[in-house]
């Protein structure tokens, strides 16, 4: 098969979910089963096609792209020909991402059939899923910045629709708005960054921009502008991938249906930011990458500390998502390109699995609570669970595999990618001396193992909070169980590398060759050979350390929550303010409320005061002066001028009083006047 | 034809007069025959004989006897009716119907006027009919008459749309509005050597066009199943309720003339008009008139046949059929015929 035909195939893949969306949004309610099969079939077909693309693409090294002129502005003086292109780019990166997105989307479709059965807006939900998949595929497949930005915004829109799916709930519609608005902040930065690049290069195409840059053509002839553009574009990723300080929307987005959380947080929305950084990797200067790395590290640490103390099963997963995203971003920032992206892929599988698993638990708990006619107990609170292992074996065992994978225990996919990230970070610090980065990375690895096992143990082990409820909890139906099993299988190492202790020999790692940086040498990050050499130096050490730390975290969780050797409450009491801070998410929401919301309000109050006192004072003073002057002129006016005016007015008024009688409100009278006027004009013209 | 008349008639105006009353003669004879035929058709469809006694063979002079009776009747005008309009309405109705025959090519030798807007003129002049019916209904000063008249006007105005659109789709094929030219285009045997070159065989969509045209013309002629205006069981005869004697007879004549008119238009547009179905065999002006009237009478017969086959529609169903089915269908068909013309 010729590579060019991949373009056509990818276009079909791109538009299948859109077709599903359009059909469902217009005809969904009339179709049998409200058309869930339609959306699912569309995505499944697209998934099959994407597998074909992946295998075809991996066989050949070169990438393939095609563009179509969308709008042309002709020649602009001083700029030259400006054409806006739409286009498709398929390389290893997009081919892999395509499969990831469609796999998760397909599994989420299947899972949703069970999870949302009987929902009021069942068909609309599937329509939105299609729209979401379409938007994400657009980001993955595009070959230029503009189209990426368009689909970027579409992702924002569709996530808004999905998070707010149950918009009758105030919290859900608030969460949807929060996600939308917070994302807007990042997108504004991204837009400015794109515009910096466009203004200089007059093109949006990646190839053209990279080509111009590697030829030494810098934006506005300045490296600082390039760094700024890179950081501004990364702002978009900060918003979408929920990096510090714009991470606040993601935990709230848990208000959406759980399969939506799986889709958003595993493969689509948050992955978009990471994917974008990977896609634009050649563009970033060393300084920009350092900023990216630190942002990622801060995010990872911050989110991990919060995740430890949460009790809502989905909130724990949400914070862990942020933490893992921080990992990926950090990996890309230190230059471990393949490691970061590989973590995105492996994380997509096990995090989707974790969310779907938690969805299964919530579903089962809901059903049980419903049978008890208990509508007050929170079905998502892990304190209300426990001992579910015996009742939900499939969910438990798959959940265990996902937890092992996210904690980085050997033989899982998570170990492979996390190990590479840690090695990359440590190698980076040996080259540059940024020792804070590996320190944070290792700490977070331990914390991840701890809080994930805390979640697992509290949910599935031990005793159920209300033992009489336990028999009512039942395993979920097959349409929900099978996606879990598929994802559990995909969380094992064999799919990514045959060597369970080293990813670098696996196909994925080989396929994701780090692209050459196009920025000038003076500001370029360390090249891959240099970094790779450093990595191979520290790799064995890192592997041992990471296993030890992960197992330590695991064991600590085991001791605290299973054996109860230490009392969790006492530890919390001992930690005091740290515990409270963590529990309250380090008061970010409150801080933003205080700084931005109240700050804006205060600013308006100040400007209001300024307006009322200073401006008005000036105006009033001027008024008073004018008043005095006008008194004098008023007297002159009243006596002399008014005499004349009044005479005219009275005269006109007297005429008007007589003339207004002709305004009868009767159209026919007006017609007569009009024709009469016409008559007079004609007579005048004829006689002249 | 005109030259033929001039050859043995003395004065010019007389020629014009004779020339112009030929269709009237045809209509009068046809009406006598058609009313008798309708009774016989009704009788035989309902397994009875129909009129048998008046005259000799199968009661052939029944209609003539009726006519004589009708002429003898008193011309009653209701006391509170609008006398002038009441008396004028039947004449306008018949005049509208009769005027339309001007543009019908009865044979290759006779057409009232070769105006180049022929079919358009027929459509336009028959719309006078609805005005005259409103006139009759209003002037009668009778609730049922007025309701019947309003229904008729609404029905006629509505069904004009599908009629015009189907006619338009034929015009796309012929490229002329003159019915004589339309007929001349259909001369000869074109298809497979034996099928006549008639427009109905021109494309499959023409068959659809004909069916639509026929349904719409049933409604335009106020025939069952669309005979709401005079539906005697509901409206006591509709706009004709107060009429009697010769004035009522004129309305009946108008109705039968309308049937013939629409059938002749259908025959001209779809079935080759005065063309013989056997190519040049039995061709010529006189045979032409025979074929034309035969084709018209066959369609008239189908209309009578339908009357005893289908039940009457309700007034809302009547409008539904027109606006929801006939009009969309005829527009789609128009587009399809245009495409067919573009492609072939």
């Amino acid at each position: 098969m010729a590579l060019e035909s991949l373009i056509q195939l990818s276009l079909i893949i791109l538009f299948l979910p859109l077709a599903g969306f359009l059909l469902l949004i217009f005809f969904g309610r009339r179709l049998p089963r409200q058309g869930d099969w339609l959306g699912t079939a569309m995505v499944s077909i697209a998934f099959a096609a994407s597998l074909f693309i992946l295998f075809t693409k991996l066989a050949v090294p070169e990438s393939v792209s095609a563009g179509w002129t969308w709008a042309t502005f002709g020649g602009i003086p001083g700029v030259g020909e400006v054409n806006i292109e739409l286009g498709i780019l398929i390389d290893n990166l997009s081919a892999i991402m395509l499969v990831v997105v469609l796999l998760i989307s397909m599994l989420v479709h299947f899972f949703s059939m069970g999870y949302l059965k009987g929902d009021v807006r069942y068909s609309r939900y599937f329509a939105y899923l299609g729209l979401f998949t379409f938007s994400m595929l657009g980001i993955v497949l595009t070959h230029n910045l503009l189209m990426m930005y368009i689909f970027w915004e579409l992702v924002g829109l569709s996530s808004y629709l999905l998070i707010g799916h149950w918009y009758e709930k105030k919290s859900a519609s608030n969460a949807a708005m929060k996600a939308f608005i917070v994302n807007r902040i990042g997108d504004a930065g991204m837009f400015i960054g794109i515009m910096i690049i466009f203004v200089h290069f007059s093109t949006f195409s990646f190839d053209a921009i990279f080509g111009a840059l590697s030829a030494g053509n810098l934006p506005f002839e300045s490296q600082a502008w390039l760094t700024a553009a890179g950081i501004l574009i990364f702002c978009g990723a900060i918003g979408k991938s929920a990096q510090f300080p714009l991470h606040v929307w993601l935990p709230d987005a848990m208000e959406g249906p759980t399969p939506v959380s799986a889709l958003i947080h595993a493969a689509t929305m948050v992955a978009a930011g990471v994917f974008m950084v990977a896609r634009l990797f050649p563009l970033f200067t060393a300084d920009a990458l350092l900023v990216i790395a630190y942002i990622g590290a801060i995010t990872a640490l911050l989110a991990a500390t919060i995740a430890i103390t949460q009790y809502d099963i989905k909130k724990v997963l949400a914070w862990s998502t942020i933490s893992q995203l921080g990992y990926m971003v950090m990996a890309l920032g230190v230059g471990a390109y393949a490691a970061g992206f590989m973590h995105l892929v492996t994380h997509a599988a096990f995090k989707a699995g974790l969310f779907l698993g938690s969805g299964a638990v919530i579903f089962a708990m809901h059903a049980a609570l419903h049978k008890q006619h208990d509508h007050d107990t929170d079905a998502q609170d892990i304190r209300n669970m426990g001992g579910l292992k015996s009742r939900m074996p499939v969910t438990y065992w798959t959940f265990l595999i996902f937890t092992l994978a996210i904690s980085g225990i050997p033989l899982t996919s998570g170990f492979l990618s996390k190990d590479e990230i840690l090695a990359g970070t440590l190698a980076f610090s040996t080259l540059n001396g940024h020792w804070l980065l590996p320190l944070i990375a290792f700490t977070v690895a331990g914390m991840t193992a701890f809080y994930m096992f805390r979640l697992l143990i509290l949910t599935f082990h031990g005793k159920h909070a209300r033992p009489e409820r336990l028999p009512l909890v039942n395993e979920v139906p097959g349409v929900m169980g099978i996606p879990l099993m598929v994802l559990a299988a995909l969380s094992l190492f064999v799919f990514y590398s045959f060597n369970p202790f080293g990813a670098s020999s696996g196909w994925l790692f080989q396929a994701l060759e780090r692209p050459l940086s196009v920025v000038p040498d003076a500001v370029a990050p360390a090249t891959w050979p240099v970094l790779y050499e450093a990595i191979s130096r520290v790799h064995t050490l890192v592997m041992i350390l990471s296993i030890v730390i992960a197992v330590a975290g695991l064991a600590f969780a085991w001791l605290v929550y299973q054996k109860k050797s230490f009392s969790a409450d006492k530890m919390a009491a001992a930690m005091g303010p740290i515990y409270r801070g963590s529990k309250n998410k380090w008061y970010f929401d409150e801080m933003y409320e205080a700084v931005f919301v109240n700050g804006t309000l205060a600013l308006t109050r100040i400007s209001n005061w300024f307006d009322a006192h200073i401006i008005d004072g000036i105006v009033n003073g001027a008024g008073a002066v004018t008043l005095g002057v006008s008194r004098i002129s008023g007297w002159i006016d009243n006596t002399f001028i008014d005499g004349l005016v009044n005479f005219l007015a009275n005269f006109t008024g007297a005429i008007g009083m007589r003339l207004r009688k002709i305004q009868t409100g009767n159209i026919q009278t007006y017609v007569v006047f009009a024709v009469f006027g016409f008559l007079i004009i004609t007579i005048v013209l004829l006689t002249l | 034809m005109q030259q033929f008349l001039e050859s043995f008639l003395p004065a010019g105006p007389l020629v014009v007069f004779v020339f112009s009353i030929i269709p009237l003669m045809i209509i009068l004879v046809y009406a006598l025959f058609a009313i008798w035929l309708e009774r016989k058709v009704a009788g035989h469809i309902q397994d009875r004989l129909g009129p048998m006694h008046t005259g000799g063979w199968h009661g052939w002079s029944q209609t003539i006897a009726d006519l004589v009776k009708m002429i003898q009747k008193e011309d009653i005008v209701p006391a509170k009716a609008d006398r002038f309009l009441f008396k004028m309405a039947p004449f306008i109705a018949f005049a509208a119907s009769y005027a339309a025959f001007v543009a019908i090519p009865f044979s290759s030798g006779y057409i009232g006027s070769m105006i180049d807007v022929g079919i358009f003129y027929i459509v336009a002049i028959t719309s006078l009919l609805s005005v005259s019916i409103i006139m009759a209904g209003w002037a009668s000063n009778n609730k049922w008459s007025l309701l019947g008249a309003m229904r008729t006007a609404a029905q006629t105005v509505s069904y004009e749309v599908p009629t015009v659109v189907t006619i338009l789709s034929v015009i796309i094929v012929t490229g002329t509005l003159n019915l004589m030219e339309v007929t001349e285009m259909q001369t000869g045997n074109a298809f497979l050597g034996f099928l006549p070159n008639w427009l109905i065989f021109h494309s499959p969509f023409m068959v659809i066009a004909f069916v639509l045209f026929f349904i719409a013309s049933l409604a335009e002629a106020h025939r069952v199943p669309f005979d709401l205006p005079e539906s005697e069981s509901e409206l006591v005869g509709g706009y004709q309720t107060e009429y009697s004697g010769m004035r009522w007879g004129l309305f009946m004549l108008t109705e039968y003339a309308d049937m013939l008119l629409l059938s002749l238009v259908g025959a001209t547009l779809f079935f080759g008009g005065w063309n013989s179905p056997f190519g040049s065999f039995m061709d010529g002006p006189v045979w032409g008139a025979f074929w034309m009237l035969l084709k018209g009478m066959i369609l008239v017969f189908v209309m009578m046949w339908l009357r005893w086959t289908l039940p009457r529609l309700r007034v809302d169903q009547l409008m539904n059929v027109c606006w929801k089915y006939l009009i969309p269908l005829s527009f789609v068909n128009l587009v399809l015929i245009a495409l067919w013309e573009m492609i072939f």
Partner: protein
């Protein structure tokens, strides 16, 4: 005096006579039917002026369409179908004088002006010519007219199909006193 002149005078008398009946008749239904004769007569005039297509369009649109609409309008806007179709005529004498002055002036202008004449040949007007003009020089008006008609259909249907205010029954208004119009509910008079 040829046939053309005879036709002209006969139909000129018909047009003007029926128009006069239309204007002066107190019975509005009579006016409407008189209008029919005027319109048909004008159609004949068009035919005399070699404008066959315009004539037929006049018949179809005016007589078949507008006149029926007007008749419906008359019958829907009179209370009781037969009694109150009489309408008022006001200021008849002054308006007649006024209209007569206008008419005479128009005639004076028409007759005194020296028109540049360039008569058409019979047969010069063909449908083909009109059709070609319609699709070339008059393309834009043609399209605009189409859009306008569509808008009018929608607008008229919307206006006529709006929920009716319950207007007072025919008998009631006389009880409310002479002269004063009876207002339906919701006219905002409080």
């Amino acid at each position: 005096m040829d046939l053309f002149a005879v036709a002209f005078y006969v139909f000129a008398i018909l047009i003007i006579g029926s128009a006069a009946i239309m204007v002066f008749s107190r019975n509005i239904v009579h006016s409407a039917f008189a209008l029919m004769f005027t319109l048909a007569g004008v159609a004949v005039f068009y035919a005399l002026l070699y404008a066959g297509f315009v004539a037929v369009t006049q018949l179809l649109v005016y007589v078949g369409g507008i006149l029926v609409l007007i008749l419906f309008g008359v019958m829907l806007t009179t209370r009781g179908y037969f009694e109150k179709v009489r309408t008022r005529t006001v200021n008849l004498v002054p308006s007649t004088i006024f209209a007569a002055i206008i008419g005479l002036m128009l005639i004076a202008v028409y007759v005194t002006t020296e028109w540049t004449l360039m008569p058409l040949e019979d047969g010069e007007v063909t449908l083909t010519g009109l059709g070609e003009l319609l699709l070339t020089d008059f393309m834009l008006p043609f399209q605009v007219a189409g859009v306008l008609l569509l808008l009018c259909i929608i607008g008229a249907v919307l206006m006529a199909a709006r929920t009716r205010h319950p207007h007072p029954p025919a008998g009631k208004s006389s009880q409310e006193g002479p002269g004063g119009p009876s207002y339906g509910e919701g006219t905002g008079r409080s």
